[in-house]
Symmetry: C2
Subunit: 319 residues, 2 copies
Amino acid sequence: MHDIAKRILQGEVRGAARAITCIENDYPERTQILREIFPYTGRAKRIGITGTPGAGKSSLVDALIGFLREQDLKVGVAAVDPTSPFTGGALLGDRVRMQNHALDSGVFIRSMGTRGSLGGLSRKTKDAVRVMDAFGCDVVLIETVGVGQSELDVMNIADTTIVVLTPGGGDTVQAFKAGIMEIADLFVINKADLPGADKLQTEVEQMLDLAKHDAAWRPPIVRTVSTRRLGLEQLWEQVERHHAYLQASGEWGLRRSRRLQEEVLEIVSQRMQQVVRERLAAGSYADQLAAVAAGEADPYSAAEEIVRRLFAGDREPGK
Amino acid sequence: MHDIAKRILQGEVRGAARAITCIENDYPERTQILREIFPYTGRAKRIGITGTPGAGKSSLVDALIGFLREQDLKVGVAAVDPTSPFTGGALLGDRVRMQNHALDSGVFIRSMGTRGSLGGLSRKTKDAVRVMDAFGCDVVLIETVGVGQSELDVMNIADTTIVVLTPGGGDTVQAFKAGIMEIADLFVINKADLPGADKLQTEVEQMLDLAKHDAAWRPPIVRTVSTRRLGLEQLWEQVERHHAYLQASGEWGLRRSRRLQEEVLEIVSQRMQQVVRERLAAGSYADQLAAVAAGEADPYSAAEEIVRRLFAGDREPGK
């Protein structure tokens, strides 16, 4: 067993941190580590937390960590930040608040950025969540900015997805637009002490009347004021209730095995891209790319030729 | 030449619409069509318009269409809507406004959703823009909700990217968070008649002082009130100035050939995924997937085995 895998299973925080660094940077050892910890995963509750920017997700996560720690639960947080494609850096202003928990060994927080990855953020987040699971976290919170497709993809690993809204600002319509209403298992109206909370609740109820959702589970709406730590108990109660529902209906097992199968395809696709990039770096297909850059060939024909060679056992003449 | 390709090049609107339907639904003829129209593309100015939800992008696009039509320019619009992964439908409330131009044959508007696609929205939008280019559009506006990674990917095809902000609402910080500030070639402060426009402009200037951007091009800031059609001339002037800058610096050609090369890889990767899915549908790899679903194998090992078979000329024993 890889040393890092061993350290994760022993609950060593630096082992887990190191593993996620391997995942983020596509280090070759990541596959062995993930393969070896896999049998020790599946125990953690995975809670997705998403919502439009400004809905107060970070402070809700912060409050929730505090609440879960009071129950002596070990908490992992994967905060997904779609960062700049150019500098690779994120301005993590509100992550600072999470440092409330920096000295608590029962809390493991990691920001996942798009650094160096090619649309692989969702894949990497899933792997990081698995590390936190094997590391012994009872609950893993997956926080995303939640408006784009890649954020929706991330939510595919959550057992329970919480959509956070706030009164005012036309949140519901915008959230609907972004397609996140339909992935909600649970709604939170945060900043519920602001005017408009009743109106927002009515709007969400109306949307739920219209929307398709599982007939046996109508997403409940919970009100919180995360800055004053109000409503957290009710929120967690509903999370537990959703978990019990998933278990009782058999949906829990179905979701997990369906998602595992999807993951296989995702990993296959990622690996194939990697193979192509390695071969490109080694100078393969240089002729095709140069012809496209020079405007002498179209990208569709060039791509087809590359695919043809790849699947033809990839034995290139004269290379 | 495919009949649809011919009709696009003749400027027949239903041919163009049909081609985009083929692209959206992955119909097999799309590759032939795209290959055949490719030599007739590259003439249209591609303008990306992005910004946080609620910034008034749709009304700005609407106003800009009107402005460009007054100069007798033919305009294409690709409105990118990240829609629900479940129902595949978008609530296109604000698209309704665009129907202002529904009877104008010089305007071609198409909403691109994620319907049925697997993260392929960015790829499909690029292909749709190419259809509009070949169809004879002088300008193609690419509008996105613009907060997720896939929206940033879409912006890779724009020659000029406009980031739309509005006074109030902490827009700049949120925009920075989403990494869209750094892809801006040009900022628009829309709804500039609202209080706070000066403050917002100062904030953006300060961020520009801090941010990395091309030394020879500092993104200008233009104020508009799209509902009253104010500032459009100034906006377009800056777009033209950016275009002239790209041309003069040689950046224009460099960008286009770099992006064409990236597109080749994207198409290769898309095609490979398709091959894998086809083989899965035909029952290949069923053993691996069943083992993963049953918890008998981990997804990493299963994926590796599938990749091994794929690149081994994919001759499966006994299948």
